[in-house]
């Protein structure tokens, strides 16, 4: 909402020493937030005068452009009284027109210095100005400002005419303070902000009483339209210009001047906050009716759009059919035009929720709709209509008709009873009950003091937002001042700290960062493109997503089921920006659709029952945190110490193992073939019989699709499950300090026997004396044959209570080998 300071001051006598800054500070503290103070003419200095174009010669140029060589009478402003020669490229003016001229020595916004200069074969001494060049809002023509004939004389300083020096305050108005979408409301707040100032309510005026002479109106839906006021005028001159003060104020408020009649209704809306609609009375046929539309009915609104209506929409009709979408937008058929001579003025009160729904349904956003849907003072319909009549008579030569139509009554404000100490109790400020009463009266409420410290408060008609006790508290506290709220820490918080899960999630992040991985955060939006890049089959369950009804991009219309897409893209982005290698991790919340259908909507007057809550929670899609890792390109740098190294499947698995060790979760791996991994280099990671995820080298096609080097590796794990398996506490280890006995064995096995199988067999066979077993070499050769490999294991034995004898160690080793032979066909090489 933009409000010229002079307009505010028309209704409130602010002390002379109150600057615009002081005013906006006070209003901001009261809840009308300052957005900006605009001062027209800022950045303009020097001679800016009215001129009259005497001659205008059109001179075509080689480049096809036509320029105007003008002589302009600028009175004595140029010191000589001689006409000023000026080149101008615009064509929306001609000889005889009055224009705005800046003379040499002047400066325009942006420090644009004006001087006499040679151009197009003339000396151009100054500039004929457009609105944009003066930093003013453009009227849409992008042309030169043509000053009306009754404007100031040539040679006069143009500043007063242009409204320079006038400050306009732009406020951000919160939805609950719709009354401040008017000068009436803003001035009232200004009066509230400076004690002892006088406020004059522009909506407080004597209006003629309703009579039977008015235009016939019937309201069928008094809920949707509790009050409908109609007035008429005759003999209006549609060609009469809008007075200068009104055009200027409308422009300052951010509205364009359209025609006198429309300008007057807008002006009164800004003045009082009450939207007004004007009809060409000669186009009306018979009685005006207000009713709900029937489903599917159609009409053309005055923006030319054909609209199909819903049974919830409120419409204004006459004998011809629908003539307006009540409170939202008028219809085309009864629109005022340049031939209108008789006008019907509608000032009606509309039910806000209806207004909101209709505006939303038909995607109509208008100044009138904005006010009607937030709530307008219902008691000022007659005053506002009367004010419009007054202005039509004053500026359009119309005659006010005697008939006054008033159908219905303004709804009354509710009365709220509160304990007078409630504001003090809730704010923590010491507000005596008497002050509470005084402050509520100051905002215009009717306060009746009851028994036992209660007060019955009836909100003023312009405050439909005041319905609850806490609403009144806000009013009292904002007048006392939000800056008066003391700063006190609550003392009773008795929390138990972070949960185990929260602690472990941090630990996972630190472990990964500590091993050289960098965390990224990606958007979770995906589309088919992601699944193609990841190589997921058509029936892959990861393609079953939660879809968005209104995605930002049609290419990514779903919520992701995997961390990998965003992560691999981030890796590709880094490599594209010159990184030689990246090691990234991300924790992404992923989701799959719920099977239990639509989520219920309950009332809000009570807590849902346990069953209702269970149904609510069940309808929410299953969501969990997936941890992703990608290792692409250089993993260890080369340098003076030797060559660098790229990461592969083994680093991916090492990362998984490091994490599992950190969390104390025992995991097993087995080979798997799952996209987006290389089918021969992918491990399924499990804990017991729970699958946690996969790790390994990425499929070559996937590397290509994301712009990653060959052999890049990745991990995707269900982090929530992994963390849930972490033991609450680790039991302290027990170990022997007796000497260790070492035995190394080399076992020849078939090439397809896994190390894990051989190791498990060795462990099983070695018995209790085995302390550790570790593979330290894998050997293949032509001599062994392509279908064989030799695995070298280091076995370490130790007893709890004694030094092992050579015989004991050898027996344990032999037992281990024997078991390996039995289970895996291993042969010991000697």
């Amino acid at each position: 909402m933009k409000a010229p300071v002079s307009w505010i001051k028309e209704y409130v006598d602010l002390p002379a020493e109150v600057t615009t800054e002081a005013l906006t500070d006070r209003l901001t503290a009261l809840g009308l937030k300052l957005e900006a103070i605009e001062a027209a003419g800022a950045g303009i200095t020097g001679p800016l005068v009215i001129g009259r174009v005497l001659t205008q010669e059109k001179e075509p140029q080689k480049n096809g452009k036509v320029i105007n060589w003008c002589t302009v009478d600028v009175g004595d402003a140029n010191g000589t009284g001689e006409p000023q020669g000026i080149i101008c490229g615009a064509h929306n003016f001609g000889p005889g027109d009055k224009v705005v001229v800046i003379l040499p020595g002047g400066v325009l916004p942006g420090n644009f210095q004006i001087s006499a200069r040679k151009t197009y074969g003339h000396v151009s001494a100054g500039m004929i100005c457009s609105a944009a060049e003066l930093g003013l809002p453009d009227d849409g023509t992008h042309g030169i400002i043509v000053v009306p004939e009754d404007g100031p004389e040539p040679g006069t300083d143009a500043r007063a005419f242009l409204g320079f020096g006038e400050e306009v305050i732009e406020f951000e108005i919160n939805p609950d303070r719709a009354y401040a979408l008017s000068l009436r409301g803003i001035a009232r707040e200004a009066a509230l902000g400076f004690e002892g100032t006088t406020y004059r309510d522009p909506a407080l005026r004597e209006t003629p009483a309703a009579n039977g002479e008015g235009y016939p109106v019937v309201v069928d839906d008094a809920t949707g339209c509790p009050l409908f006021v109609a007035r008429t005028v005759s003999g209006f001159d549609a060609s009469a210009p809008t007075p200068e003060f009104m055009t200027k104020r409308l422009e300052q408020a951010g509205m364009r001047s359209i025609s006198l009649a429309v300008d007057i209704t807008n002006y009164v809306m800004l003045e009082t906050g009450r939207p007004i609609h004007g009809y060409d009375r000669d186009k009306l046929q018979g009685t005006i009716r207000v009713r709900r539309a029937t489903e599917g009915e159609q009409m053309v609104t005055l923006d030319g759009a054909k609209r199909t209506l819903s049974a919830e929409d409120l419409v204004v009709t006459d004998d011809s059919g629908i003539i307006g979408l009540g409170g939202v937008m008028g219809g085309e058929t009864t629109e005022m035009s340049e031939t209108t001579t008789n006008v019907l003025i509608e000032a009606a009160h509309w039910e806000p929720v209806s207004m909101f729904r209709t505006g939303k349904r038909h995607k109509i956003s208008s100044e009138a709709g904005k006010r009607n849907e937030r709530g307008v003072d219902p008691t000022i319909c007659e005053a506002a209509a009367d004010r419009v009549v007054e202005l039509l008579v004053q500026h359009g030569g119309a005659t006010a008709d005697g008939g006054v139509t008033v159908v219905g009554t303004a709804p009354a404000s509710p009365t709220i009873t509160i304990d007078a100490t409630l504001p003090a109790r809730l704010s923590g400020i010491d507000v005596p009950a008497a002050d509470t009463v005084a402050h509520l009266r100051a905002i215009g409420a009717d306060v009746v003091e009851g028994s036992e410290g209660t007060i019955a408060v009836t909100a003023p008609a312009w405050r439909p937002d005041l319905n609850d006790p806490y609403d009144l508290v806000e009013e009292v506290v904002r007048i006392v001042g939000y800056d008066q709220v003391p700063s006190v820490l609550p003392r009773r918080a008795t929390g138990r700290g972070l949960t185990r899960g929260q602690q472990l999630r941090r630990r996972v992040g630190r472990t990964l960062a500590g091993s050289g991985l960098v965390e990224v955060v990606s958007f979770p939006f995906v589309g088919d493109d992601a699944w193609e890049k990841l190589g997921l089959a058509e029936d892959d369950p990861r393609r079953v997503t939660v879809k968005l009804a209104n995605p930002l991009s049609a290419e990514a219309p779903a919520y992701t089921t995997t961390v990998l897409h965003g992560l691999l893209e981030a890796a590709g982005r880094n490599l594209g920006r010159g990184a030689t290698g990246v090691a990234l991790f991300e924790t992404q919340i992923v989701a799959k659709p719920s099977e239990s259908g639509a989520a219920p909507i309950y009332g809000v007057d009570r807590r849902p029952t346990e069953d209702e809550m269970a149904a609510l929670f069940a309808a929410v899609p299953t969501q969990w945190t997936e941890l992703g890792v990608v290792l692409a390109g250089e993993y260890e740098r080369g340098g003076w110490w030797g060559a660098g190294r790229t990461a592969g499947w083994e680093e991916a698995l090492a990362t998984v193992r490091r994490l599992a060790d950190e969390l104390g979760v025992e995991i097993t791996v087995q080979s798997a073939a799952v996209m987006p991994w290389h089918p021969g280099r992918c491990a399924q990671v499990s804990a017991g019989d729970v699958t946690l995820g996969f790790a390994g080298e990425l499929h070559p096609n996937v590397c290509k699709a994301y712009g990653l080097p060959a052999r890049s590796a990745a991990v995707a794990l269900d982090l929530d499950t992994l963390i849930s398996l972490a033991p609450d506490r680790t039991p302290g280890p027990v170990f022997s300090t007796m000497p260790q006995a070492k035995e190394d064995v080399a076992l020849l096995v078939d090439a397809d026997v896994t190390v894990a199988a051989v190791e498990a067999a060795l462990r099983e066979g070695a018995g209790e004396l085995l302390e550790s077993v570790r593979l330290f070499d894998v050997y293949t050769s032509e001599q062994l044959g392509a279908d064989k490999k030799s695995l070298a294991f280091a076995l370490r034995f130790r007893a709890a209570d004694r030094t092992l004898t050579a015989e004991e160690t050898a027996a344990a080793r032999d037992a281990a080998v024997a078991r390996a032979t039995e289970l895996t066909g291993a042969n010991q090489r000697t």
Binding site: P486, V488, G509, E519, L548, N550, R577
Partner: protein, 374 residues
Amino acid sequence: MSGPNSDYDPVEVTPLKAEEVEAARDAALAAIAAAADLEQLKTVRLDHVGDRSPLALANREIGALPPAARKEAGARVGQARGAVNKALGERQAVLETEHEARILVEEAVDVTLPVDRRPAGGRHPLTTGAELIADIFVAMGWEVAEGPVIEAEWLNFDALNLGPDHPARTMQDTFWTDPAENHLVLRTHTSPVQARTMLSRGVSEDAPIYVVCPGRVFRTDEYDATHSPMFHQVEGLAIDKGITMAHLKGTLDHFAGQMFGEGINTRFRPSYFPFTEPSAEVDLVCFVCRGTGLNDAGTDPCRTCRGEGWIEWGGCGMVNPRVLRACGIDADTYSGFAFGMGIERTLMFRHGLEDLRTLFEGDVRFTTAFGSEL
């Protein structure tokens, strides 16, 4: 290095003459002093105190002397040998020290060689920022609550007094899941976590609610330097007996001071949020100009706060009793406050970030700059 000394043929020696013993001692001491390194000293030791050295032979001869002469000869040889051994020990210590020092000198390296074999990792500032904020509240006895990002419409809106006709529910702001009749949204704020906390925990005299909810939220904003369809919020909720706006102010002042530095307080301005009443915008004293609104030179407006001395930080207020009612809390007995801030916005101020998008691009140069903790 000296070779075996052929002048000393032990067979020819008549060892027990005093001058000969002294001569042998002096020769040994001179050789010890002359040994330049441990190797030479080893040879000297062999020559002068070894089994075949003059003093060793002399010692062996003592037993053959007449008893009257034994005592004197014994004392003479013993003293000589003692002096030589002492000198040997001392020289050994000196040479060992020199040797060790020389090795350390020889082993010196160029410590300016690069040692960046493995590049450093790092955690994302959105993660560590949320942790930093959580820790400030956990230190005050609050708990950290979490909830799903795809949320029931009722929890995201209705329960929070955002009725079906509230402007914030129009398609422009909210991502709805398809079909919209399923009443599921990508949560537009972390407030549904507050609703879930109240609904599932309730509140009692012994168990008041003090929770902070950091999390990821979504709005259908186009992606640019200051807007993102996905961003992060932290919200707080306190429900207890006798909670007032003063407690809200105290909590936010403490939070601001911890986050931005001692003395950085907050200011409340009246505002409107459906879930709170009274509601306030929270401004932060500009931590660059510390509220003066001027740059360092005092000549131009401060760039961070554009001369206002204050920075908009978030919203807050007393929990609307309508919210308490829908979430099963007796508004006559309990009152509460709630607040919410953008984590991105908070980090942009705290670390002077210019473009929101740097947080979501995944460029490692951005993340590693922050290390593992903020």
